[in-house]
Symmetry: C2
Subunit: 251 residues, 2 copies
């Protein structure tokens, strides 16, 4: 099982949208996919139509061996471990526990033979949640909104992943996907060019266009493949899935 | 001095953009404005062209009486208290200090006769930074991106402000400003209508349109009034400033 942590300290860059729709793209190519909502806001859980559940991610962080009780079927043919209101408190309490950074990594071991991919949606911060995700992950996938303020966040992520590589996870790879790209604006082109120059070989060829369909789909609790199968959003996330699967053949 | 905390747990909804440009709009109407960067990412500081400073907000949280040393002139005719790399650590250490939620409120007392408005840019989370801002503030100003995932965040902010009203700040008012509104999409209209129904009397009449100029301006370290004075972004933020000043006459 390949584990991707979808992460960025910058808010609103498309972390949740990428987790949901890359997941759906991987399913459409025959992969078994688990998505995990590590954000106390619960945007991922809402986006795939999962509400009011009994066991959730906070239970898993407290008792990693219970992980199978917190897995639910959801949109897009995926399974999800949802967030609940208690997640924010549990994340704060982690520091009093044994091996706090390893809780999620430990839990995912119990299901590593059941899925081909696990995608973790992170909150827009660099606290315990993100440390847990980067410790468990093979790849830190950073969505880069093609705007100036999001470009600034790239330096932070590089710093953090280096820190994780030096401590809990030496094999962590960093990858960047451009999102909300509007080819009509010079600004978006400038930002994309700058990111490719700054991070040679780390930015995927596939670029996700800005399209309102991607903002509408979560209101229906659907993936873009279900909500608008013949749209640019669907084509882009399926292309990203193909590119990622191709690269992972080498690992 | 009126203190506004610009806050939302949801990322990328326009907190930083609103702090910068509402501030500039207030200056254009003759007000003296201080803006404060409470986000360790430092988006606000970068947006107004302030880099590599000596004393910053983390020093103020440690020693509130030093606040005047951390004030710098910036774009838009404003003054700014910038963030620095040490802010994330200082925010974590706050819980070991005396009256951790009051540090910013205490500091702002030293300058309350020098400014008409203080606007605080918050990070996309509900930790110590946001608690400090809401304890110090007269108004919690929540930018609402006109999209489904941002609408979900409104319930959280209402809950938090009620908790702050019951503990440290009984007079805290909640206000919402619609941002990134694209009148051509049904989705934006639906979200705006739902927000006005859910929060009668709390959503400003002024709506900030989606315009690429607002994403370009921070790359130049300028406010929208300086970067594109004859643009929809400038008109909208000036209208918001007028609406806010009008309402504050009653307080
Ligand atoms: N390519 C796209 N085109 C248009 N809208 C998009 C696109 N990707 C995401 N969105 C919308 O932009 C907003 C931000 O995206 P999203 O919530 O996925 O970002 P995030 O990084 O997960 O945010 P947060 O930091 O709050 O977790 C959402 O309303 C989403 O529906
Ligand atoms: N009305 C608007 N029209 C177009 N783009 C906008 C508008 N307002 C903000 N933006 C852009 O959208 C992105 C998100 O805005 P901003 O960074 O201000 O949000 P934020 O809530 O402060 O994000 P964070 O949660 O990371 O602090 C930025 O690239 C900004 O330039
Ligand atoms: Mg998200
Ligand atoms: Mg911001």
């Amino acid at each position: 099982m390949m584990i991707y942590a979808v992460t960025s300290q910058k808010g609103g860059v498309g972390k949740t949208t990428t987790t949901v729709n890359l997941g759906a793209g991987l399913v459409s190519q025959g992969k078994r996919v688990l998505i995990i909502d590590l954000d106390p806001q619960g945007s991922l859980s809402a986006s795939v139509g999962v509400h009011l559940i009994k066991t959730s991610l906070s239970d898993v962080l407290l008792n990693p061996e219970w992980i199978k009780n917190a897995i639910y079927p959801c949109s897009g043919g995926m399974n999800v471990i949802p967030a609940s209101a208690s997640l924010a408190n549990v994340l704060l309490e982690l520091s009093d526990m044994e091996a706090p950074a390893w809780r999620l990594a430990q839990a995912l071991r119990y299901v590593s033979n059941l899925y081909d991919y696990a995608l973790i949606d992170c909150p827009p911060s660099l606290g315990h949640a993100t440390t847990n995700a980067l410790t468990a992950a093979n790849v830190a996938l950073v969505p880069l909104q093609c705007e100036f303020l999001s470009l600034r966040g790239l330096a932070d992520v590089q710093e953090i992943s280096r820190a994780i590589q030096d401590t809990t996870n030496p094999d962590l790879r960093l990858r960047v996907v451009a999102t909300m790209y509007d080819k009509r604006t010079i600004h978006a082109n400038d930002v994309l060019r700058e990111a490719r120059l700054a991070l040679p070989g780390l930015v995927y060829e596939t670029v996700i266009p800005r399209t309102i369909r991607l903002a509408e789909a979560p209101a229906m609790g659907k993936t873009i493949l279900e909500y608008a199968p013949d749209s640019n959003g669907t084509y882009a996330y399926c292309a990203l899935a193909t590119e990622i699967m191709e690269e992972d053949k080498g690992y």
